[in-house]
Each structure stands twice: as structure tokens, then as C-alpha cells.
Point group: C2
DNA sequence: CTCTAATATTCAGTATAGTTAAATTTAAAT
DNA sequence: ATTTAAATTTAACTATACTGAATATTAGAG
């Protein structure tokens, strides 16, 4: 059993307050079968799955698209992280592709700034919010007219509409986990030419 | 066997000049199984289908969407035709929903004009082409500055960019089959208030 | 045209989906 | 708290997907 759609199918059903019995009857299959499918005990034949989706009035194209968008668990091993190097800073992406799409999307990464390096735009904010968790070092977050010093162990979150910049004011590398939502709120990785 | 995707799956494979053996091996299933699936002998389990689609690098959402767009056979029984009445003329739609979408879409219908009735727009053309096959009666097709008389048995096809109007110049009902492509080239059924 | 190799299909046995009925769980009423 | 009915799950049997080998078909070479 490679593909486990059961929970997603159950979510559709419960969302509509339908019982296994009702759906199974309309789909022309047994209650037992629908239970087994929802519990990932079996991989249904295509005919069976499509009959069930017909009851829900959801086409298979939309079903799979929504499933991919909302149900995929992306695991990125440390060695497999996408690394992005820019002058003075480095990112390791933590979030998979599926989280960068659709509603409530986000980007997450491990950020590293050399001493003196800066990131961000002092003139423009962007849609959404950010979260930072400091692992090592020290940096100043310049948020509009305010200046906040971040040190190891700090976590910071803020609305991104106000222009903001991060500057490593310490003598060592600044390292933090960083999350931006929604995913397309900012071109966080900057221009490749920079 | 309610859903017959076999031919569509085979089209993908042959389009890429792959053999059943190659695809089956990569998908981790037997050649025999892929043959049976393509020939609609069985309804594959979901796992199996998705494994095959992985080999083709096609996500299931796109697969089903393309299948619906390009492979659906819509059969509309005469009694089930959608009837559209307008002043002086009547349409019976012949084409199903799937043909009105995507590339190369079209609308088809059985058109009936009362004596003296007219259809079309003498001032505006629209994108695409039309085909008419006259079953009964007589009408004039005014195409730009030209006037063509259509009688029973005639078939006529033309680019629709030139403004065109159809007028029943006979004493009896004018009946013809009519095809417009693409489907959204013209609001062929006119305003409901007319 | 024949021949051969590659490819696809079919057949019969194995594995698993699908069914029915029994068992278990859950929700609601008292 | 207990009881009951509804809902779900599981077990054992039936139906069909899936396999590997045999057979049939196709394509290409000479």
C-alpha cells in the first residue's frame, strides 16, 4: 500500500456529516469496503474510487490536486536540503514543494548570516508574517523605525508589511530557523545576480 | 468495468515510443497487467495506476483532467436534448459539456428557424468557424456583403470573423445541424431577455 | 515473399479487493 | 451510571486484480 488516501477520503465524508453506510449505498459498494478504504487496509480499484468520488461530486482531477495540496507530507533529509548561497548569507530550505502552494502556504529554512551581513529590504514590506528562532549568534532586526536585538534562544514573529532588515551585529555566524507565510509573500532568496 | 481509461493510457505510452515491457518494469508490475489495463480487461487498483503514472511523470490530477477533456464520449439522447427557445428560432444542443472546453472545442446543435426569422449579427463577426448542414427548408446566409441561398441538402462552412446572419426566406421551417468552433467564439444562444 | 526477434496477449494459478454477517465501538437517551 | 440503537470495524468467504509462462501477433530484415 503505497498511496494512503484513506484519511483524506474520510475527511471529505465527515465534513459533509455523511455515514459510511449512506455513502457506500450510493456508491454501490459495501460499508465494509468503504471502511477498509478509509482505513488504508486496501488499495481500491479505480472503478471503486471513482464511484465514491461521484457520490461526493468531486472529479478525480480535483480530488488528486487537493490531496496533493493538503495532504502531502514532505520530508527533507538534512543532506538533501536545497542550499542557497548569497553574498554574506546562506539558506537551507526546510519546507517541501507542497507547502509552498495553495492556501496557508509557507516557506521555511535554516538561515545563516556572516558577521556584518544583512538580509531584507529597508524600504519595502510584503504580505504575510514571519517567525524566527535564533539558534546561534546575535542580530538586529530593524523593523520600521524600531530596532530589536535577537540573541540565541530568542524567537521573534512579526507582520511583514512593515519593511524589515536583519543584520548580523555579532562576531560569529548568526543562525536561525525562519518561516515566512504565505510562501510567495517575498522573494526571500533574492536575485541570483546579487 | 465502468471507467475505461485503457486507450488513453496506451496513447500516452505509444506517444513516447515506450514498450509495455519497459513501462511495466519501471512501474514494478507485470507486462501482462499493463496489457490488461490498457485493454480495459480489469480496473486497476489505485496503487497500480499511480505507479504507472509515475513512470510517465504525469500527476493524477493532470491525468484525469486531460482524460476528461480529451477522451470523454458524451451521448445525448434526443429526448434529453437541451432545448433553447428564442423568438422565432429554436435550438437543440447536440454537444456535451466536455466538448465545450479546452483546445479544439465546439458547440453543436439542431437549429430551427420559423419563416422570416433571423439569427446572427450583421455588424459583428466572432472568432472561429461554422458549419451548417441543411435538413429542411430554405434560408439566406448573409455573409458580409455576400448573399448565399441555402436549401435542403446543402452544407456550408465559413470563417466566422466576417459578420453573418441567417434568415429563413422560405415558407416552411428551416432546419439544419450547426457547428461552431471554438465553443466560446460566440454567444450563440443570445440574451435570455430577447 | 519467408523468417526471426521483439512485442503484446492470453491462460491458469496466486494474491488481494470486495462482500456478508458477526463483533465492536460510539453516541444518545434515560 | 446503564441501555439501546446506530455506526463502524473485522473475519471468513467470494470475486477479481496480478503474476509468470505459454502463445499469438507484429515489425523488420533479407
Amino acid at each position: 500500500m503505497k498511496y494512503k488516501l484513506g484519511a483524506f477520503l474520510r475527511a471529505i465524508r465527515t465534513e459533509r456529516s455523511l455515514t459510511i453506510k449512506e455513502v457506500a449505498q450510493k456508491a454501490g459498494v459495501s460499508s465494509s469496503l468503504l471502511s477498509q478504504i478509509e482505513r488504508n487496509r486496501i488499495s481500491p480499484s479505480l472503478d471503486t474510487l471513482l464511484q465514491i468520488l461521484e457520490v461526493y461530486g468531486v472529479g478525480p482531477d480535483k480530488f488528486f490536486k487537493t490531496y496533493e495540496t493538503s495532504s502531502t507530507v514532505d520530508i527533507i533529509k538534512k543532506d538533501d536540503r536545497e542550499m542557497i548561497h548569497r553574498k554574506g548569507f546562506k539558506y537551507e530550505k526546510l519546507s517541501g514543494r507542497s507547502q509552498t502552494r495553495g492556501n496557508h502556504s509557507f516557506n521555511a529554512f535554516f538561515l545563516e548570516l556572516e558577521p556584518g551581513a544583512k538580509r531584507g529590504d529597508p524600504t519595502k514590506g510584503h504580505l504575510g508574517r514571519e517567525l524566527g528562532i535564533v539558534v546561534n549568534g546575535q542580530a538586529d532586526l530593524i523593523y520600521g523605525d524600531e530596532n530589536y536585538t535577537l540573541t540565541e534562544g530568542d524567537s521573534v514573529s512579526f507582520f511583514s508589511e512593515i519593511p524589515h532588515t536583519l543584520i548580523n551585529t555579532g562576531k560569529t555566524h548568526f543562525q536561525a530557523y525562519w518561516v515566512v507565510t504565505p510562501a510567495d509573500g517575498e522573494d526571500f532568496f533574492g536575485d541570483k545576480s546579487s
